[in-house]
């Protein structure tokens, strides 16, 4: 197998010419915006060095006008318990995490099970998607992801009529992921989506952000992004995707079933049992802002939950 550098997975010139799907952003800017020296006033914690001239985005804000978070903050403030529970230390600890070669096994209740390597994943249309990420802890960011809709991959493997849920699994490698040596959580990390959620165009498999390949702390080489759900649903460093009949039990459901449910839709009306979800702190902003139903994506996803009591299905 030939070695592939992460920078080669997502050629930066590709995404730029792709269609944009999100309403309200308007036409794509004529030229890509090259960021230079946009970091947050010299935070000392920055463990990574990247040539910022390589960073490219077509917009500077989300469709609501909220500014993108800096590349520095996105890559240095991470929840990735496989490394450490300390958000500021993830980047440093993930520095040498090997993400190539890599394969994603897609199987279960499908007609065409397939194992995707990084080349295979790079063949999907790479699109820029500016999404808000709302953590269940009460903070949020705006991130310009690079990736492709999950439904494109699912169509290739052809789920059978029995398939009701999609189950995702993160790599299990305690040698490289010290957090997995702790028995507190049931590793590996597992997440799931209902079939119709997975087929929604907002759900993407991301392989990059800011026009460059994902760094390990952000879930390299490939991760899920479901922006209308709390951040923990967007599982990182995926090695396995299975189409299944039964609702998967996620890691957080197993850890605290009364606090973290399967759906985990962003909902200001349904507080976490121990804290309110009505407001959030946008990283980089002072103070708080109101949290929006479905993280501001109600128009695209609310129909999925029309007949459901979201207090019960939290």
């Amino acid at each position: 197998m030939t070695e592939i550098k992460s920078s080669e997975i997502t050629p930066e010139h590709i995404y730029f010419s792709r269609r944009r799907f999100m309403k309200g952003i308007g036409t794509l800017a004529a030229g890509s915006l090259v960021l230079s020296g946009c970091g947050l006033g010299g935070s000392s914690s920055g463990g990574i060095e990247i040539d910022e001239s390589e960073l490219k985005v077509s917009v500077t804000a989300d469709e609501r006008g909220a500014a993108l978070n800096s590349f520095e903050s996105i890559t240095n403030f991470n929840n990735f318990y496989e490394f450490t529970a300390d958000k500021e230390r993830v980047a440093k600890m993930a520095k040498d995490f090997v993400t190539s070669p890599w394969t994603v096994q897609v199987g279960g209740l499908v007609n065409n099970p397939k194992t995707y390597d990084l080349d295979d994943l790079a063949r999907f249309s790479q699109q820029e998607r500016v999404y808000r990420l709302r953590c269940v802890e009460g903070w949020s960011m705006v991130i310009p992801w690079l990736g492709f809709p999950l439904h494109e991959l699912l169509k290739e493997v052809e789920p059978t009529s029995k398939a009701k849920y999609v189950r995702f699994e993160t790599v299990y490698d305690p040698e490289q992921l010290p957090g997995q040596r702790s028995d507190w959580y049931t590793w590996p990390y597992v997440e799931g989506l209902r079939m119709d959620e997975a087929m929604n165009d907002l759900a993407i498999l991301a392989t990059g952000l800011y026009g460059t390949g994902l760094l390990p702390q952000n879930g390299a080489p490939v991760r899920l992004v479901v922006p209308w759900k709390y951040g923990f649903k967007s599982i990182k460093s995926i090695v396995k995707i299975d189409l299944v009949e039964e609702m998967p039990i996620s890691l957080w459901m197993a850890a605290a079933p009364y606090e973290y449910g399967f759906y985990a839709n962003v909902n200001p009306e349904v507080p976490h049992p121990r804290w309110s979800q009505a407001t959030e702190r946008r990283i980089g902003d002072p103070g708080r802002r109101a949290t929006l139903p479905f993280n501001g994506y109600a128009e695209q996803v609310a129909y999925l939950y029309e007949d459901m009591d979201l207090r019960v299905y939290y």
Partner: protein, 224 residues
């Protein structure tokens, strides 16, 4: 000067050690080193410091009863006052920097978040204790003073619950603090306290007996 320093080193260490976290916090704030979520980081740090100082304060009496190290007793007041200072900064960051004094949001946050409620409860308990920490109030309140200041045990327990309730799932760290607080409260229970002092006096006796026995040996060894 030097003698004074030597005599007061415990007190000096207490003041320096208690103020250092605040100095570091201010330094980090002005140098943009408070992570990408500075309000949360400042909240965590001041809360943790308040808890640590509260634990140290609760350790004073047991240290005195077990090791009869009487010099630590005057530190209790300062540790308590510094704990209150950090609790106050912690509280102000929450209501002011974080919630911008928005009463509606704050009301909701405090009533929906039970962890905020117990934290606020602990703060309300510490407030009168800090205000009555002077010698004047001690005299004025007489026996009531001691009873009033026993409320600090309740405050410490509330602070631990506050910590347990705010973590996402892994409660090991707050439980360690809980265990330490529990232990420090346990050694205050009269029965246990008496046992400890009995044990201590027995050990003291043994030690003095042994030293009495050993001394002749030493003399003999010297003679040889």
């Amino acid at each position: 000067m030097w003698i004074k320093l030597k005599k007061n080193w415990l007190k000096i260490a207490t003041h320096v050690g208690s103020l250092a976290p605040l100095a570091v916090l201010i330094w980090d704030f002005y140098h943009n080193q408070l992570t990408f979520n500075p309000i949360q980081e400042a909240t965590f740090r001041t809360g943790k410091t308040a808890l640590v100082l509260l634990v140290l304060m609760l350790a004073v009496t047991p240290v005195n009863t077990i090791f009869s190290w009487r010099q630590v007793v005057p530190l209790r007041k300062w540790l308590g006052l510094y704990a209150f200072m950090y609790a106050t900064i912690h509280f102000l960051i929450f209501v002011w920097l974080d919630y911008g004094l928005n009463l509606q949001l704050l009301q909701e946050a405090i009533f929906e978040k039970r962890y905020a409620l117990v934290g606020f409860g602990a703060f309300l308990i510490l407030l009168p204790l800090a205000l009555t920490s002077t010698k004047g109030w001690m005299r004025r309140l007489g026996k009531t003073w001691k009873r009033l200041h026993r409320l600090v045990y309740l405050a410490a327990l509330l602070v631990v619950i506050h910590f347990v309730w705010l973590v996402k799932s892994d409660i090991r760290e707050p439980l360690i603090y809980g265990a330490i607080v529990g232990l420090l409260l346990l050694v205050r229970v009269p029965v246990i306290r008496k046992k400890i002092s009995k044990l201590r006096s027995r050990m003291k006796r043994k030690r003095s007996e042994r030293s009495r026995q050993e001394k002749p040996d030493l003399v003999m060894a010297a003679q040889k």
